[in-house]
């Protein structure tokens, strides 16, 4: 019996005209690692949620066909019962943490399953060990880094003893080292514990060739289901779904005046020295990548550079206007339509209405969002929100643009388009700073790189994939 099976499954959300899943037939065996790829909106997340009965029980809509997990039909059993057999790790680890202590977090699911009290602590500790998070057992969840949160989220699901582990874009917030560590954990779960692992992911570099199968989705349908070599051939017409070969970075930009500069900048946040005597200049007409592990101080640098965060020591300065696009595009959604979002900054600058409207329309067109002008921003997908957030800042023609993790949740094809847009901003003369863990994107788009660790900055260099990974 398959660990997880879909038989002729179709699903349509109540508010959406088009189906999210169409005639899906898929079986996942025990001890199998399956990579799920596809563009944003192709149905990957819906498929994962359907495996646990959250679609349609939590999200609503119509489901046809049959989904079985551990032999249980999701139509007859509630997610709470299915949780013994399958566990889902969501994209944002922060949004799934419900306890203030790590051990309590790992125990939460066991308590819900009614496990004997004496068994709860040993099982929670064992799950933390399996996820490589045993050393975090005594910590509070709010002090964890992004990578640590992700491991605790996985442990919290593993504690319930599922035979199927489902992960929705688990590396989107992880630095390369943490993503490598996660991959090792997943392989260990498959090889040593015989757990079936299904990973939906846009960043396929690490997983593509170690997966047992690659399943590609398009418009709710499974279009490819094959081992990696076969999938590579079958997806040759959609190269953005394939793992990226390291690309040669473009030549360094010609020297120009700095668009922004940090001089001996220091900033302490709580007990962490987020910036420690950091000095760097960011050239106009160039794309500078800021890389480094989770918690290295990259976002603090970005905020300080744009004048959005004060410093304890040293100075930060920029020429003209600076625009910052944060990691969470949801924070940029302040209005009722996408058009108003883009127009907002221009109105604050006092741009006259006819010109303002024209510029807002042009910016939406430039980011392939003209169709969404009248849509509510919260109805857009995460990738579309990300592009809208960038458009709402670039419409103001800033001299310095800082993009914090701009490819988070963005699929391969949109990433290529984003790459062109970022280069276009630099070609127009703006200084562009990209804070990112996405090594292939950085190698494609950046002309220089700044590496950070523990709030300090290493000398600038033309980035290579090796340097970015380091």
């Amino acid at each position: 019996m398959a660990a997880l099976s879909f038989e002729g499954v179709s699903h349509r959300y109540a508010a959406d005209g088009r189906p999210a899943l169409q005639d899906v037939d898929l079986a996942i065996e025990h001890g199998e690692l399956v990579l799920l790829v596809g563009e944003s909106g192709s149905g990957k997340s819906t498929l994962l949620r359907a495996a646990l009965g959250l679609v349609p029980r939590f999200h609503g809509g119509e489901l046809h066909g049959r989904v079985r997990v551990g032999g249980l039909d999701t139509r007859r059993h509630r997610p709470g019962e299915l949780a013994r057999h399958a566990g889902l790790v969501f994209q944002d680890p922060e949004a799934q943490i419900v306890s203030s202590g790590v051990l309590a977090e790992a125990a939460f699911g066991l308590e819900n399953l009614g496990v004997e009290p004496a068994e709860i602590r040993p099982r929670a500790l064992a799950a933390l060990r399996m996820a490589g998070a045993e050393h975090l057992a005594g910590r509070t969840t709010r002090t964890l880094s992004g990578g640590e949160r992700q491991r605790v989220a996985i442990a919290s699901v593993l504690a319930m003893g599922p035979r199927v582990l489902l992960l929705d874009e688990p590396t989107s917030q992880l630095d390369p080292a943490a993503a490598d560590e996660l991959l090792r954990t997943l392989l260990d779960l498959r090889d040593r514990h015989g757990i079936a692992v299904v990973v939906a992911e846009h960043r396929t570099e690490r997983l593509f060739d170690v997966a047992d199968r690659v399943v590609a989705m398009r418009a709710g349908e499974i279009v490819v289901d094959a081992p990696p070599a076969g999938a590579r051939r079958a997806l040759s017409g959609q190269p953005w779904l394939l793992p990226r070969a390291p690309s040669t970075p473009p030549p360094a930009a010609a020297p120009a005046h700095p668009a922004g500069q940090l001089t001996h900048a220091s900033k302490r946040l709580g007990t962490t020295q987020a910036l420690d005597d950091a000095s760097a200049a960011f050239e106009r007409g160039a794309v500078t990548a800021v890389t480094g592990p989770n918690g290295a101080g990259k976002t603090t640098l970005a905020l300080a550079l744009c004048g959005l965060m004060g410093l304890d020591g040293g100075s930060a300065a920029h020429r003209g206007r600076a625009g910052y696009v944060a990691q969470d595009p949801g924070a940029y959604l302040l209005h009722d339509t996408a058009f108003e979002e883009v127009e907002y900054g221009l109105a604050n600058l006092g741009v006259p209405e006819p010109l303002r409207r024209a510029r807002a329309e042009a910016e939406l067109e430039r980011f392939d969002l003209a169709w969404a002008a009248a849509e509510h921003p919260r109805d857009l997908s995460s990738g579309e929100r990300q592009r809208l957030a960038i458009a709402s800042v670039t419409a103001m023609r800033p001299d310095l643009v800082v993009l914090d993790e701009p490819t988070r949740g963005v699929d391969g094809r949109r990433k290529q388009a984003l790459c062109g847009l970022v280069r276009g901003l630099a070609a127009d003369g703006a200084g562009v700073v990209v804070v990112s863990h996405d090594a292939p994107f950085v190698a494609d788009v950046a002309t220089a790189a700044v590496a950070m660790a523990d709030g300090r900055i290493a000398p600038r260099a033309v980035p290579t994939t090796e340097a970015v990974h380091a």
Partner: protein, 266 residues
């Protein structure tokens, strides 16, 4: 300890008590980790507002300090007694808010959840999640402010700030839905439920419990014996009674000791 401070602030009339409670609340919040400015700002602003409004809505006291023009609804005859009562009312509110902020920052919501869950599991879960999500909501609010400022919005204007609350509520609802989905995926609201054994208190927690219990005992004894009573109207009474001095000083000293133990690193 925060409970003792809150009860003292709200129930005891002698001005020494709300003053000691406000001092104690400030000490406890200072001992808590950041972010705490938002709680302090809320406490001070609310306390000041009450202090400033009270003399204009109360019509009591015999010692007139100032008489203004007649304005409908407002009482423009300001008395010493009204000012004193307003100041104490402001201190009460500020002390309670500071204690609540310290509670949010210091309380172990998992321990609380387990304690309350024995009686009311779902209410305990809601309370725990609220405590757990407050820091996340603070970060969301900071994100919304950054998003507005980077688009040249004058966020210090009341109109702009008010407009930003809508998006913040939207983000909060999205976050609440995500947490609810994650909880359901992990079996919450299933047919059976158990609880992990509650761990024993550490040495530090035992000391803190002792200090908090002592403070609570002092406050409750004062309430029961009426030693914290005081007269504001028609003329102010004398607050410097031995019982009030000893009790209020005791609360402040115990709160200071509590804060020191919280901050102490072996």
């Amino acid at each position: 300890m925060t409970g003792a401070v809150g009860i003292a602030a709200i129930t005891l009339d002698n001005p020494l008590w709300p003053t000691a409670a406000a001092l104690a609340g400030g000490l406890l919040l200072t001992a808590a980790g950041p972010p705490r400015r938002i709680y302090a700002a809320f406490a001070i602003l609310t306390g000041l507002t009450v202090f400033l409004l009270e003399p204009f809505v109360a019509v009591q006291g015999l010692t007139t300090l100032w008489r203004g023009p007649d304005i409908p609804i407002l009482d423009t005859q300001i008395t010493t007694e009204e000012l004193a009562y307003g100041a104490v009312a402001g201190l009460r509110i500020a002390a309670a808010a500071l204690a609540a902020g310290a509670f949010v920052r210091l309380a172990d919501s998992d321990l609380l959840l387990r304690a309350v869950a024995r009686v009311a599991p779902r209410s305990a879960m809601i309370a725990s999640l609220t405590t757990q999500m407050l820091p996340a909501l603070e970060r969301d609010a900071a994100g919304v402010l950054v998003a507005a400022r980077t688009r040249a919005a004058a966020v210090s204007r009341p109109g702009t700030a008010a407009r930003l609350t809508g998006p913040l509520v939207g983000m909060s609802l999205e976050r609440a839905l995500a947490v609810a989905e994650a909880m359901e995926a992990r079996g919450y609201a299933g047919p059976t439920r158990s609880a992990a054994p509650v761990r024993g208190l550490s040495a530090r927690e035992r000391v803190l419990t002792l200090l908090g219990t002592a403070a609570l005992a002092i406050v409750l004894v004062t309430v029961a014996t009426g030693a914290g009573d005081y007269r504001y109207f028609d003329l102010l009474g004398d607050p410097w009674t031995p019982a009030a001095i000893a009790g209020a000083a005791g609360l402040a000293v115990l709160a200071a000791a509590f804060a020191w133990v919280v901050r102490w690193r072996p």
